[in-house]
């Protein structure tokens, strides 16, 4: 039992950190530019495809990851300059419509280029096996690749923290999230800042998509489900707050993973079998939404509101 909980807790941490990569970009775009980007999940999907395709061509996972992330950043730049720049001043409805259209285009374009079947690709061979941890109650095995994902996630989170909380550009970003007009009035080139943040967000999306690619199937529609989770994260954390995004990601990742692993067993122990069989998976799936509704009910601005 300890092994199961430990394994699921690590899985939850890994999932949470990947969610953070997505949520960080989303919360900044949302918080600073006040722009709802439903196509953020599409960037994640397209990024994963880029990485998968580049890894196949280069025959190296790491080269593929680098190339895919660069490709997604370039795509983000094109999108920002051609479309999003026009959307910032528009109302939320126009943003929803435009980015919904982008989802349609992205899904169909990916289907046209790579076909409807999911792409499988492998993690680097050196990381394929498990790592052994000696514990008092016996050895505990955990896949090396997942450990690397956790490490990369933690590194990016630390980097992002330093960037946002300690650097000059980060100060501008935080200022932009708190009060856009004032930041502009102080002479910051907010337009260039917006572009940089958007491109950075796109690159983080592709990084998450590429890292998760070998664990999940890279397929059309993978962006939509994760997009909703990323939105839940930034709502829980408070829009525009990187710290909120990190805390929210870890909460959502852990609660979702542990809920799916432990709730069915817990219910089986306390409820009649057929009730538990129905209720278990349902409750596990809606747990994070219940959490979000609850948090919003008591703290309508999220846990760490950026515009306090």
């Amino acid at each position: 039992m300890t092994q199961l909980i430990l394994e699921q807790a690590l899985n939850g941490l890994q999932f949470g950190l990947m969610l953070f990569l997505l949520a960080a970009g989303l919360t900044l775009v949302f918080g600073i530019m006040d722009c709802i980007n439903l196509a953020h999940g599409s960037l994640y999907m397209v990024g994963a495809y880029f990485v998968a395709a580049a890894a196949q061509v280069a025959d190296s996972f790491w080269v593929g990851l680098g190339a895919g992330v660069a490709g997604a950043a370039l795509l983000g730049l094109l999108l920002e300059v051609s479309l999003f720049r026009r959307l910032y001043q528009r109302d939320h409805l126009a943003q929803v419509l435009a980015t919904f259209a982008l989802i349609l285009i992205a899904n169909e374009a990916v289907r046209a280029i790579w076909g409807p079947a999911a792409i499988m690709f492998n993690p680097p061979e050196a990381l394929a096996g498990p790592v052994e941890f000696p514990l008092p109650h016996g050895a505990f095995f955990y896949p090396a690749y997942r450990l690397v994902i956790i490490a990369v996630g933690l590194a990016v989170a630390a980097l992002l923290y330093l960037l946002v909380a300690r650097s000059r550009v980060g100060m501008w970003v935080r200022a932009g999230a708190a009060n856009r007009e004032m930041t502009e009035a102080l002479g910051i080139n907010v337009r260039a800042l917006f572009t940089a943040v958007f491109v950075f967000g796109a690159a983080l999306c592709a990084l998450a998509g590429g890292l998760l690619g070998p664990l999940l199937a890279v397929q059309v529609g993978m962006g939509e489900s994760v997009l909703i989770l990323a939105f839940v994260v930034i709502i829980i954390g408070g829009i525009g707050s990187i710290r909120g995004a990190l805390v929210g990601s870890l909460i959502v990742g852990t609660v979702d993973t542990l809920g799916r692993a432990l709730l069915p067993a817990l219910l089986r122990a306390t409820l009649p079998a057929d009730a538990a069989a129905t209720l278990g998976p349902a409750l596990a799936s809606i747990l994070i939404y219940l959490l979000m509704a609850g948090i919003l009910f008591f703290r309508p601005q999220g846990l760490f509101p950026a515009r306090a």
Binding site: F30, H92, L97, I105, E108, I286, F297
Partner: protein
């Protein structure tokens, strides 16, 4: 936005449209194109659902991204009624409206405490909960959805024929639009639109803002439930697909295309979107790309929706 007031041409145009629609099944049958009666019914049903969202969004100013939940609950209620041996639409349809409306009341009473983006997201969260509940509910078909054994009867008359269901849907849409049109000009609708324009002022004037919004939200949910029940009859299935958030997005897109806060916005949007889909499918397998580009074009060049291009009068 200003208060809704019907354009002078609206009444004659509506009557002409209604006459044309009443004659449509007979005309299509005469031309040997019975297939399109089913398609037209689908358009009417989605027009009803989109119009109900337009009441919430256009008149009430509440951007809900969870409307699919009410739509789907209506469909499931109809299917569950039939499973329980109730095949009479006179009972099943009001039951669907009641179930969807009550759920909307619950969702509204929690989410209407939040504003802006938070409201969008919390309505989405509730819709996702409903989606996962129905996907996990094995008694109601789980992933596969709950099929109907056949179409229901309405006051004893069978809805099995395509024309019968068409007329039932047309009647529902007409009744809903008449009601919404009257409502928008009545005291309730005026208050609702005033709250959309300036919430703080209405609050200061002593209007119970929260209650007005909640009633509109629940009413929209109930009508969406009716649309869901009709759709379940058309397709013979209450499917979890109806509850997916992309369905909420599609309804939202319909309203935005048609014109937010225009009485016929939902109808125009549903007809345009489903019509485009039907036409584009014939040309290319990848019609989603074309549709997406068209939507982008609408956002950038017709910001107030297609209906606004024809200039419904406001002010």
């Amino acid at each position: 936005m200003a208060f809704y007031r019907p354009a002078r041409w609206q009444r004659p145009a509506t009557l002409a449209g209604l006459v044309a629609l009443v004659a449509l099944p007979a005309a299509l049958t005469a031309l040997g194109q019975e297939f399109y009666i089913g398609f037209a019914t689908r358009v009417l049903i989605f027009a009803l659902a989109a119009s109900s969202l337009n009441l919430v969004l256009g008149f009430g100013g509440m951007v809900s991204l969870g409307h699919a939940a009410f739509f789907g609950i209506g469909a499931y209620t109809a299917a569950i009624c039939q499973q329980a041996g109730i095949n009479e639409a006179l009972f099943a349809f009001p039951a669907a409206m009641a179930a969807a409306g009550l759920f909307a009341l619950l969702v509204g009473s929690v989410s209407l405490r939040t504003r802006g983006v938070y409201f969008i997201m919390i309505t989405l969260a509730f819709a996702q909960m409903v989606f996962y509940l129905f996907v996990s509910a094995r008694a109601w078909g789980g992933d596969d959805g709950l099929p109907l054994a056949g179409r229901m009867t309405l006051a004893g008359f069978s809805l099995a024929g395509d024309s019968a269901l068409f007329f039932a849907s047309l009647a529902a849409l007409t009744a809903a639009l008449l009601a919404f049109g009257r409502l928008a000009q009545a005291r309730f609708g005026r208050t609702l639109q005033a709250i959309r324009e300036n919430e703080t002022r209405m609050e200061a004037l002593g209007y119970p803002v929260f209650r007005y919004r909640l009633v509109a939200f629940a009413l929209g949910g109930a009508v969406a439930g009716l649309a869901g029940a009709l759709l379940a009859n058309l397709t013979g299935l209450a499917s979890p697909n109806l509850l997916q958030w992309t369905q909420s997005g599609t309804l939202l897109v319909m309203v935005i295309i048609g014109g937010v806060g225009a009485l016929y916005g939902g109808v125009v949007g549903a007809a345009v979107l489903l019509g485009l889909e039907e036409v584009l499918v014939g040309f290319t397998e990848h019609w989603h790309i074309v549709l997406g580009l068209l939507l982008l074009g609408i956002v950038l060049f017709a910001p107030r929706g297609v209906a606004a291009l024809f200039g419904e009068r406001r002010g």
